[in-house]
């Protein structure tokens, strides 16, 4: 089968073990992840200065980014090193714990930007929806890889949908329509690449379309409707999203070819939520067209490598995981950048690793680490 012999602690001991991991890892995607994290760190530095923060104060976005990204690198490395099969055995407890966290968020959730998305754990606001999208994907990959699974059966598609439905619903009523859509995209990507029958995927999509009016009526908050209207209707109230968008476009235009660099950012007016939603506009302002194209390229490369991993994978777990993660990152990156460019409605979807956010970075690192683990620890059956 695929990628050589199973890893064992061979004659070279621990060094040989690390060496074989390093050899089997996908270094293109790892490099893309690393560069995106560096972009995130650079933007955190600029944003902290732009908001007038002390760089090395514990409240500064910069120091916090260093901490979160370090934890993300650690998560990525550890998960890569551990055999994915062992992690898979925790898929259901993690899934269950995540559902509990989502329910807790609904009950005790803190107001973070107008809705109850975060919950405080040990004083740190955790965005449970960010964790949900990865853990749901892991559970999905697990359920689609079970002993009796047959990819193109109705039961397989239904089972996958049933696993995704509870976290989807819990996230949607937070309300966080953006993340809910990401979870749906993960399901879609996983099913598509793991070979689910076209008719069932189409049926699922049709169901989603039928549910749209209901979602609009009950699950989309007023401010989200306003954003959508602002995107569709050019005469919408310029007080809100329209203004943010105009500022983002102005910032992008001011970037030019190479941007105004690190130095010019000290006295500049911050964009609205430039550490997350509008991080791309702020990035282009600082690093210009070149910086913007680099980030688009990195996202594209990462997605392409994940699709390649799904294609190469000898088992359904890798296919679903790769396809789902590809969908998540493509959706997040695409929507976030398109929104910054005025080509998509404003949603609170972060740009992977570049936007500031601990939960998002760590859970993505977890998912991507699992993909690496799946490459590294080949053989021995699924």
């Amino acid at each position: 089968m695929g990628l050589g012999s199973p890893i064992t602690r061979g004659p070279f001991g621990a060094a040989g073990w690390v060496g074989s991991i390093v050899r089997r890892m996908d270094w293109l995607s790892t490099a893309a992840i690393g560069l995106l994290m560096i972009c995130g760190l650079g933007m955190a530095w600029i944003n902290a200065r732009s908001y007038g923060q002390e760089l090395f104060d514990l409240s500064s976005i910069f120091l916090r980014s260093i901490i979160w990204l370090s934890l993300s690198v650690a998560t990525f490395s550890i998960v890569t090193a551990i055999n994915w099969r062992w992690i898979r055995t925790f898929a259901w407890p993690l899934y269950g714990a995540n559902l509990l966290l989502l329910i807790a968020t609904l009950i005790f959730g803190q107001d973070s930007g107008g809705n109850s998305r975060a919950i405080a754990v040990f004083g740190i606001a955790i965005q449970s929806s960010e964790i949900a999208k990865i853990l749901t994907l892991v559970a999905l990959a697990t359920v689609l890889t079970r002993e009796s699974a047959e990819a193109d059966t109705l039961s397989n598609t239904l089972l996958g949908s049933l696993v995704v439905a509870p976290p989807f619903a819990l996230v949607a009523i937070q309300p966080d329509a953006g993340t809910a859509l990401i979870i749906a995209a993960a399901l879609f990507g996983g099913l598509l690449l793991s070979g689910a029958a076209t008719r069932w995927i189409a049926g699922l999509a049709g169901l989603g379309v039928l549910l749209l009016p209901l979602i609009w009526a009950f699950l989309i908050a007023d401010y989200q409707k306003e954003r959508l209207i602002a995107f569709i209707d050019p005469n919408a109230d310029p007080a809100g999203p329209k203004y943010q968008l105009e500022q983002a476009l102005t910032a992008i235009r001011s970037g030019g070819l190479f941007g105004i660099g690190f130095d010019g950012t000290g006295g500049i007016n911050p964009l609205p939520v430039q550490e997350s939603d509008f991080v791309f506009a702020a990035l282009v302002r600082s690093f210009g067209l070149v910086g913007g194209l680099l980030v688009i390229g990195l996202i594209g490369l990462l997605v392409a490598r994940l699709i390649w991993h799904a294609w190469e994978s000898p088992d359904s777990f890798g296919t679903v995981l790769g396809g789902g993660l590809a969908a998540i990152i493509l959706f997040q990156g695409g929507v976030n950048i398109a929104m910054n460019l005025g080509a998509a409605p404003i949603t609170g979807i972060p740009l992977p690793f570049v936007s500031y956010g601990g939960a998002s970075a760590i859970s993505l690192a977890f998912g991507l680490g699992l993909v690496q683990s799946h490459r590294v620890h080949q053989g021995g059956g699924a």
Partner: protein, 629 residues
Amino acid sequence: MSSTQIYKRPLRYLVAAVFTALLSGLLSARLIAVEVGGGGASSRDFNTLADGHRVIEEVIAPPRGLILDRTGRILAENIATYAVQIRPGDLPLTIRPQVVKTLGEILQIDPVKITMTLDRATGSIWEPVRIASVVDERVTRFIEEESAALPGVEVIFEPRRQYPYGELISQVIGYVGRIDALELSALSSAGYNELDYIGRAGVEQSYEEALRGEPGIRQVEIDVQGRIVRELGVTKTPIAGKSVVLTIDIAAQQRAFDALAWGVKAAGNKEGVVTSVNPQNGEIIAMASLPTYDNNLFASGITTAQYQKYLNNKNAPLLNHAVGSHFPPGSTYKLVTYSCALENRVVGVDETLVTPAYLEVGGQKFYEWNRAGFGRRLTPAQGFSYSSAVITYQLAQRLKIDRLAACGRAWGFGEPTGIDLPTEIGGVVPDQNWARTTISRTLYDGEVLQSALGQGYDLATPLQVMNSFAALANGGTLWQPHVVLELRNPDGTLAETITPVEKGRVGMRAATLAEMRRAARLVVANSAMTRNLGQIPLNLTGKTGTAEYGVRDKQGRLPYHNWISGFVAPTDDWSKTDADFAYVVFMHGSNTAANAAIEVLKRYLQLQYDLKRDYRIPGSMSIGNYYGE
């Protein structure tokens, strides 16, 4: 090896890969389009907003440039002040009386006055109404703390002009004032708005364009009522005005001012001018005019009563008398008559002329100023030093009026000198043409004689008189006097040097001018006329003047002004043209026992040249009946 059935469908992978590539490509294309095209539908639609909201461009006033003296001391600067205003639209009528009462207590203004101000305001209810200017910062903090109880009351920051030297140099500096409707309609295209300040006098007015800088523009969104909903960003940052550096050193100004202030106090005449200039380039050294005014009062919003007081003062404190008033120049004008006669060779340098007690012209007796004559024949230079009227009459008779007037104009009389200060006037040089158009007849012979004396219809500003002696000193060049040396950028770098402009040349032979310089020295040296003036250890020249004006008193005497103008040369070689100091002293209506201007000049020279000895003669400033010269 896996028990799971995997169906890899290559087409789906292809579609996924192509979709990823396509999306990346589209996003890149869009990024480039936004960057290059400035685009997107959103930008275009921004001008047509819902609910009648409009995006308008608002002017951001640039910080006004400073005015500095020649050594860099600040003469006009911008300080921060606070003003209190009410936006009527934000103040519900039901609670207005309470709010007005509270605000009145805080500001110590009669609430009735505030109510009246609000009721009198025209325009949109969202337009702020000014309640108080230059409010103490502590008071504004109090208002801000009470803001919940004072809806619609706003404290705004306002830069204001401050003049550290006030009335010492206010005549030159001028002041700024709120733009009025007429100016606004003329200047709105230059970016002025109704809240703008504009230079109203002096350098503030004449260098308005440089001092003002370039206004910035910001986009704001306004609703139907014209109320600003939100600021959308600055599209053009304002550029601060340039600083104006004067040719005047404030210490030199102080010396001229002090000498003049002493003079008008001693003589009790209230009005006068002391000005000096560098004859080599037209740079004004000092320019004092009394009475003066405090331009700081204008900067902080002058009260109507104070303004009326200035306007009603018959000595016109708001006017810079050096450039804005003209008077009969008296015998200082003999520079024109004598040089004209020598130049036209109607008299020889060594020719002697008779000095009887009077000359009879057209059946009328024109007396020598001492009514006795000098009892001997005098050369033109000697006649000049005695300020002989009868010799002047004889020269005028030989010259005729039109030739005399042409010489007057050649010396710069009859039109403004072109100094870089506003409201300069040109004086009058009468000739037959002027007479025909102005008084509808030709001049009588007697009037011609008076014109040769700087009396009658002759009128000149102190600056013109000084400029004629400056031209004498430098060999015949009429520089445009200027009070501004250079303009500096906000960062202190040189922006522009004001180069001296030659307004014209006197156009007389060097020998004529040298003879007149020698004659002007004789005036100072003639102790019979100017007493101890010649003892001052300077190569001082000058010509005194006493000019009658106005209405005769009961004894048939006219009030009179005193003049002296001349220059100080480095050496007593009068063929040279290298003097760097020319002056004029004018004492309006002095009526003193001796020439008051001479006494003021002595004081000025003592201060200017740091002379130990005081040459002023006690008693010469007492009220007298001095019909000197």
